[in-house]
């Protein structure tokens, strides 16, 4: 049994605190990497069940009989992917392609550049894996497909989330904003804090609209 909330620190010498939350005693021994197909480390879902014995006989479902594939960032160098694919989707695609059976492949690529990051074979309809790749939080897209005559035929693509934020292109020019509560407005200011011109809206050349997503807060002149 654990002894108190946030018990991590309690494993430390008396009185000593951790400066970052969630630090573990030893590094995670996670082995999943984006490796060539024949060396991929595959961890099927359900391997964690040993940790869940407390709930007795009531087991949570291993899957939901749905078609899904999701990629999530862990850090700048690691992404996590999980998937579930149904017989229904697989069989219908096999029929379309007029083949009896095929190996399932997951292909990972960068969403914006479409650069392929890696691909690997999967044996299980429900599974998960870690992708070691220096994506720096650039969104990745995962696609499950099958190989027919060496060609990748897609079955299911991951959803693209989160939507991109508006961002400042790297011109190095400072942009300042003034927000005055109650006056209902925002003033965009170009240039440095000391040399600003309150009348100037931001130069369009230093701001860009995302392809999809939030859009701008429209600048309002006072």
């Amino acid at each position: 049994m654990f002894r108190s909330f946030y018990p991590l620190e309690m494993e430390k010498p008396p009185g000593l605190m951790m400066e970052q939350k969630g630090r573990k005693e030893s590094e995670d021994s996670r082995e999943g990497k984006c490796l060539p197909r024949d060396t991929i480390v595959f961890e099927p879902i359900g391997s964690d069940d040993k940790n869940n014995s407390v709930f007795g006989t009531q087991e949570i479902p291993k899957g939901y009989n749905i078609d899904t594939i999701v990629v999530m960032p862990v850090n700048a160098d690691m992404n996590f992917v999980y998937w579930e694919i149904t017989d229904k989707l697989l069989n219908s695609r096999l029929r379309e392609l007029n083949i009896g059976s095929a190996e399932l492949i997951i292909k990972i690529s960068e969403r914006d550049s479409r650069k392929e990051v890696c691909s690997f074979e999967i044996k299980e309809r429900i599974g998960k894996n870690y992708i070691k790749y220096h994506a720096l939080f650039r969104p990745l897209v995962a696609e499950i497909g099958i190989l027919k005559n060496g060609e990748f035929a897609g079955l299911l693509k991951s959803r693209t989330v989160p939507p991109p934020s508006p961002e400042i292109a790297g011109t190095g020019e400072e942009i300042w904003m003034e927000k005055i509560k109650g006056l209902g407005g925002t003033v965009w200011v170009s240039g440095s804090e000391d040399t600003h011109d309150m009348a100037s809206p931001p130069s369009k050349t230093i701001m860009k609209r995302p392809e999809q997503g939030m859009g701008f807060l429209l600048p309002v002149k006072h």
């Binding site: 939350k21 573990k24 949570i60 479902p61 989160p162 904003m177 200011v189």
Partner: protein, 530 residues
């Protein structure tokens, strides 16, 4: 005046309520935190007001904590817990007789527990929130919100509605408990992803906080580092955590709480005393637990501990307050020479550090505010006050980040806890679908099922469960809680779809997992906002 200081205390505990047991160990997380952190901090605030000491604190109180503070069952349990503590401390005074080493500590605890009970009843009127409201109304503290159930938002983003609902429900909960909308938010685990600022803005949030690297790795690099807030492109202010003042308190080797004079957290009579004697005050199943009576000081890296001396510890807290004040002064002088405005130093901490882990923490804060008030070389300020003074700030795009180990999402997504996400995402998708399809549902029972589905999902989304799985010290409970909410959700969905609703089961869940009793499932519908 050399600069501004924004101290932020993040107050959070997951929603834990087990009326199915007379005694439930995990409910004591709340009771310990009330007695050791929240009330001692409020007492110090009252002391400052009574002593005409000016101070400013920014306090995040998460919605689960708001709900637990206001829960009648938990309040009754807390009073029982407090009475037990008073009883034990009296028993200890008798047992210790004329023991010069430990009797003073036993008397100290007895007085302290009585003071806490009196404050809880007479000043707080049985609800800790009344204290926070009181100091907010005096303009001394700014209360900010957090995610509805403190979920790790970047990992819910696969379903944008899930993130929006976490923010929307949090704002609604704040409104319910404080009668107004929050200006700011403490993002759960300080975790940010690109796009989150837009959602915050849609719900009227004016500012949030980032760990240092969330700001410093932004584009472009902020001109004033973390010593002035920035605006995101959606116009939301982001304050960055100052690493220096954090380190002085949090650091595992150099932080103040490790001083040898301070109270040792681990040595507790619940573990030290004869089993038969202490049995009525620990878990009824015989598991030894912390009681709150701790007689030793840290002493050093040794198992042989010396008796705790409250007077020496308080003197040390004063020394540390002076040191902190002097270090901030030097820091602000250095920064001020490089900036065209006074720097602002943002120091966020878990509130529970003060009092629970670091017993003398509330006293340290009190002494520190006294120093600030006396010397006037820096000014404690709230984020809203600062933004009103300095409405013009640089615009940057912050970087994805968190305040967890390694600074990103690793603590909440790793091989120990990654199994939860397929369930959380499926549940959010399913609920959004049901909310859209049954938006105009009029059958009361079916509406209640949909409302409870929303509660079960929100509770499953709490970041605490993934965190505790990673730390491996509360793995059993956290995994159980996650599975419980997944199972409840699936059972309710099946019953809803087959129209075989077990009303007794529904009522039980409504009572046990009672967070947000005003919740309307339609919040999950995509047409809700329109």
């Amino acid at each position: 005046m050399k600069g501004y200081w924004i101290p932020v205390l993040h107050s959070h505990l997951p929603f834990v309520k087990h009326p199915e047991y007379d005694y439930f160990l995990e409910e004591h997380w709340l009771f310990e935190a009330i007695s050791e952190t929240y009330i001692p901090l409020l007492i110090k605030m009252k002391d400052m007001v009574d002593g005409n000491i000016d101070f400013r604190l920014t306090v995040s109180i998460t919605p689960p904590l708001l709900e637990m503070f206001s829960d009648e069952y938990l309040t009754a349990q807390y009073l029982k817990h407090l009475d037990k503590l008073i009883e034990l401390s009296e028993k200890e005074i008798n047992r210790l007789g004329d023991d010069r080493d430990f009797l003073p500590a036993a008397c100290f605890y007895n007085n302290k527990f009585r003071e806490i009970k009196s404050f809880f009843i007479d000043f707080l009127n049985y609800n800790v929130l009344n204290g926070y409201r009181y100091f907010r109304d005096l303009g001394k503290i700014e209360i900010i919100t957090c995610g509805a159930t403190h979920s790790f938002l970047p990992l819910l983003g696969i379903n944008p509605r899930a993130v929006e609902v976490q923010i929307k429900v949090a704002v609604d909960s704040y409104n319910k408990h404080f009668g107004e909308s929050p200006e700011g938010i403490w993002l759960p685990e300080c975790a940010y992803f690109e796009g989150l600022d837009g959602i915050l803005g849609e719900h009227g949030i004016r500012f949030f906080f980032l760990d240092s690297h969330g700001l410093m790795n932004g584009r472009p690099t902020p001109k004033y580092s973390v010593y002035a807030p920035v605006y995101t492109m959606n116009g939301i202010a982001a304050f960055g955590r100052d690493p220096e003042s954090s380190k002085q308190v949090w650091d595992s080797s150099e932080g103040y709480p490790g001083d040898f004079n301070y109270r040792d957290f681990y040595r507790d009579v619940g573990f030290d005393l004869d089993f038969e004697y202490i049995k009525p005050y620990i878990s009824p199943d015989g598991i030894r637990t912390f009681t709150g009576l701790k007689y030793y000081r840290i002493t050093g890296s040794t198992d042989i501990k010396e008796p705790y001396d409250p007077v020496a510890a308080h003197k040390k807290a004063f020394e540390h307050a002076l040191h902190f004040h002097s270090e901030r002064k030097k820091q602000m002088e250095t920064l001020g020479a490089l900036m065209s405005r006074p720097p602002v130093v943002v120091s966020p901490y878990d509130a529970e550090l003060f009092g629970h882990w670091w017993f003398e923490g509330p006293d340290f804060l009190y002494r520190l505010f006294c120093e600030i008030d006396k010397n006037r070389v820096m000014k404690a300020i709230t984020p809203t006050e600062y933004l009103n003074l300095h409405p013009q700030n640089q615009v940057i795009s912050p970087s994805p980040s968190s305040w967890g180990y390694e600074g990103y999402y690793d603590v909440w997504l790793n091989s120990e806890n990654d199994w939860i996400y397929r369930h959380l995402h499926y549940m959010a998708d399913t609920l959004e679908d049901l909310a859209n399809k049954h938006y105009n549902e009029t059958d009361l029972i079916r509406e209640r099922v949909l409302d409870q589905l929303t509660r079960e999902l929100l509770l499953a989304q709490s970041s605490d469960w993934a965190f505790l799985m990673t730390t491996k010290t509360a793995m059993e409970y956290s995994a159980k809680r996650t599975r419980e909410h997944i199972l409840n959700f699936n059972k309710l969905v099946d019953a809803f779809r087959t129209n075989t609703i077990d009303t007794a089961f529904l009522e039980w869940l409504e009572y046990k997992n009672s967070i947000f009793d005003e919740l309307d499932f339609r919040v999950y519908a995509s047409k809700y906002d329109s």
